[in-house]
């Protein structure tokens, strides 16, 4: 099985440790991982701002980099959802269609693709899980609180395999953090207020770490925590699943 590792541009630039943890987790699970080093942005920042038509070059670059793999896996629910919903090409639509069907966010690849049942990981901390909206409502990584449907949670299933980890209970289990891409600056006041409230839910519940399958949410909340000199840290879920003492 050949897996193409997709590392979103901002993760590559700011959170290389999460990218390394993702690579290591996949390798430990016995898959062959390739990393196309010429990869670049998925095009979501343009598309969500109404400029989907400007993302054509991003789309074609993505197709050129990843068409050869059996699966494409990335540590970002948001970018993966964007590609699944909006990857198209004027010149290579057949390839684009094929790629849309083999994209996986890391957590869903570990639970649904590789059917992981145990992990050799230890993380002796209190952790609050932040569901990214795109992971939750877009990729259905867990049941959504709005629906009258049986509960399940893929990230919690994986976190449950980590030794000494304590998950805290939040007041609002799947509220948006307010990042929203360009929304974070075009609607700065609302974005920050949402972020502060989201962070407060975690800190009140006694979390030492906030984790998520999306680093964009975490980058936003980290920015708020850091500015307010909080001791609470953010950590991508891949780093917990790959953690050893």
């Amino acid at each position: 099985m050949n897996v193409g590792l997709f590392i979103p541009c901002y993760v590559n630039q700011f959170y290389p440790n999460a990218a390394r943890a993702t690579l290591e987790l996949l390798r430990k699970s016995g898959v062959n991982v390739g990393y196309p080093t010429r990869q670049i942005c998925c095009g979501q920042p343009m598309a969500n701002s109404g400029f989907e038509h400007l993302a054509q070059d991003c789309n074609n670059t993505f197709i050129d980099n990843f068409a050869e793999f059996d699966y494409i896996v990335g540590p970002s629910a948001s970018c993966i959802l964007h590609l699944k919903d909006h990857l198209h090409s004027d010149t290579q639509e057949a390839k684009a269609t094929e790629i849309r069907g083999k994209l996986y966010e890391l957590v869903e690849f570990l639970t649904d693709g590789l059917k992981i049942e145990s992990l050799n990981a230890t993380f002796p901390h209190k952790e609050g899980l932040h569901h990214s909206c795109h992971g939750l409502r877009g990729l259905h990584l867990a049941q959504m609180s709005e629906l009258n449907a049986p509960p399940f949670s893929k990230p919690e299933k994986l976190l449950g395999m980590v030794k000494d980890l304590e998950q805290v209970r939040l007041g609002r289990c799947d509220e948006c953090c307010g990042f929203g891409g360009v929304f974070s600056v075009s609607e700065e006041a609302v974005s920050v207020k949402m972020g502060k409230d989201r962070v407060r839910d975690h800190t009140r519940s006694g979390a030492e770490y906030i984790t998520s399958s999306d680093l964009s949410c975490l980058m936003h909340m980290e920015g708020i925590l850091h500015r307010n000199k909080s001791n609470v840290k953010v950590i991508h879920i891949s780093e917990i699943l790959n953690a050893s003492i």
Binding site: I7, T37, Q39, G181, R227
Partner: protein, 460 residues
């Protein structure tokens, strides 16, 4: 009465609202409480998701066959003795109401349960012509005496605290200063409202559901004011948007179960009043209003926004709405549903609204008729940019970002990790003028990017 119109966009109005953080926390909590009541009510019936699906499909059928259902409804209304009017525009709607009242020499009207007439600006139109209008729903009455539009379609004054309402009543109704007990305030409001009902000869209501098969319409309220107005009136007028049709009476069982649970978490509204034919000596009129609805019907990506039954659940669940308040949407219908309806009416004026969302998707999940609200927000953004309503600086920034992000060559020339990103992606530019930095820090750039590490170690 005429409301102040604003030229500020959602972001600016929201920023002003958020300045009083303690108030925002209260507003957010009040709406979240209603969302939680909705969750409990919807989870109390096992067939909830099937009900949503059924309602959605019935409304799809209505949208696909609107022409036929409207003609059937009209024929049945006439059979029942109701006078039918068609209005293409808000202006035409207002003229029709005025003509009906004038013919009877009526100069006072009581109104209830109608967002459509808010949309049409009916109160202002009639008042300019010497006809007094009183909104009889308590929340709308409070908004009316404060000369402010409703901030929510179901809870019109949800943004006001009880102390503020006490202050308003003190000023306008002469209550003692400092009174803020909701029960006492309601009793105070009841007196002038009763006095309003008694002598008014005309009553106007909105319509929740219009049954094509029988030519009757249903109005759902909790206060009974629609009934009181209608029963005391000699001229009863109902105004409805074309989309309020349901095909058959039996479908009401689905919609009535969904509406109140979604709106407030009640199993059903206190009153579900069916109006079918005039009493002896009474005149009944029904006005079918287009006001842009057929234009929306002609937009394949957006036509199912017309399924909306105006429950307000998308507002209560929307974190942006909860933090920014309904008035920041500068449109009669606020929140996520307002943001997909408003651009159809005036794309330039409402170009900001589809961007007032993180696209979190909670709105689509609570919607009782399963409108894909957050997908439509995304699609409106594309439409608005294509139609040239994005600012030129934004267009330039986006083009620059697309150019840099689409080729890895530019990445190669970057220096330290993080620097390339900060230099090239407008929304993280490392600059004090950047809104990101007002209340947030950027992550510290690591020593090397993942790609640099990978190339250096070959991934080991």
């Amino acid at each position: 009465m005429s409301y102040q119109t604003t030229t500020k966009d959602h972001a600016a109005l929201a920023e002003a609202f958020i300045k009083d953080e303690e108030r925002v926390d209260w507003h957010d909590g009040a709406l979240w409480y209603i969302r939680e009541k909705r969750d409990i009510a919807s989870k109390g019936i096992p067939e909830w998701e099937e009900l949503r699906e059924a309602a959605s499909q019935i409304k799809s059928n209505v949208i696909s066959n609107l022409h036929d259902y409207l003609l059937q409804f009209e024929a049945n209304l006439k059979k029942n003795g109701i006078v039918v009017h068609w209005a293409d525009t808000p202006q035409e709607h207002n003229e029709i109401v005025y003509a009906i009242l004038k013919a009877k020499e009526i100069n006072q009207m009581v109104k209830s349960k109608s967002m459509l007439t808010e949309e049409c600006g009916l109160n202002e139109y009639l008042e300019e012509r010497g006809i007094g209008v009183i909104n009889s729903d308590l929340g709308e009455y409070i908004q009316q005496i404060d000369n402010e539009p409703p901030s929510h379609i179901v809870l019109p004054c949800i943004h006001k605290r009880k102390e503020e309402i006490g202050e308003l009543f003190h000023e306008h109704l002469g209550t003692e200063k400092g009174l803020s007990d909701p029960t006492k305030l309601t009793r105070v409001a009841r007196k002038p409202l009763r006095n309003v009902f008694m002598p008014r000869r005309a009553a106007l209501t909105g319509v929740n559901f219009a049954v094509a098969e029988t030519g009757e319409y249903v109005v759902c309220t909790n206060e009974g004011n629609a009934d009181m107005g209608a029963h005391l009136s000699e001229v009863q007028i109902a105004s409805m948007g074309l989309e309020k049709i349901i095909p058959q009476k039996k479908h009401l069982g689905i919609f009535l179960r969904l509406l109140a649970r979604s709106a407030t978490g009640q199993p059903i509204t206190i009153y579900s009043s069916h109006f079918k034919k005039p009493r002896e000596g009474q005149e009944m009129h029904l006005i079918l209003v287009n006001a842009g609805r057929t234009r929306q019907l002609g937009r394949p990506d957006f036509q199912n926004s017309l399924k909306c039954i105006k429950c307000g659940a998308c507002m209560n669940t929307c974190p942006v709405y909860r933090k920014s308040g309904g008035l920041s949407y500068h449109n009669t219908i606020s929140g996520p549903i307002g943001a997909i309806l408003a651009p159809n009416l005036d794309m330039k004026r409402h170009a900001d609204l589809p961007f007032a969302s993180t696209l979190c998707g909670s709105c689509s999940n609570v919607c009782p008729v399963k409108i894909n609200i957050h997908d439509q927000l995304y699609k409106w953004r594309q439409e608005i940019v294509k139609e040239g309503h994005a600012s030129s600086t934004k267009v330039f920034g986006m083009k620059a970002m697309a150019w840099t992000l689409s080729s890895s060559d530019k990445l190669d020339k970057a220096g330290r990790a993080g620097r390339w990103f900060m230099q090239n992606v407008p929304f993280v530019v490392n600059n004090k003028l950047n809104p990101w930095y007002k209340q947030r820090d950027m992550p510290e750039g690591p020593k090397e990017t993942f790609t640099e590490w990978y190339l250096r170690t070959n991934g080991d």
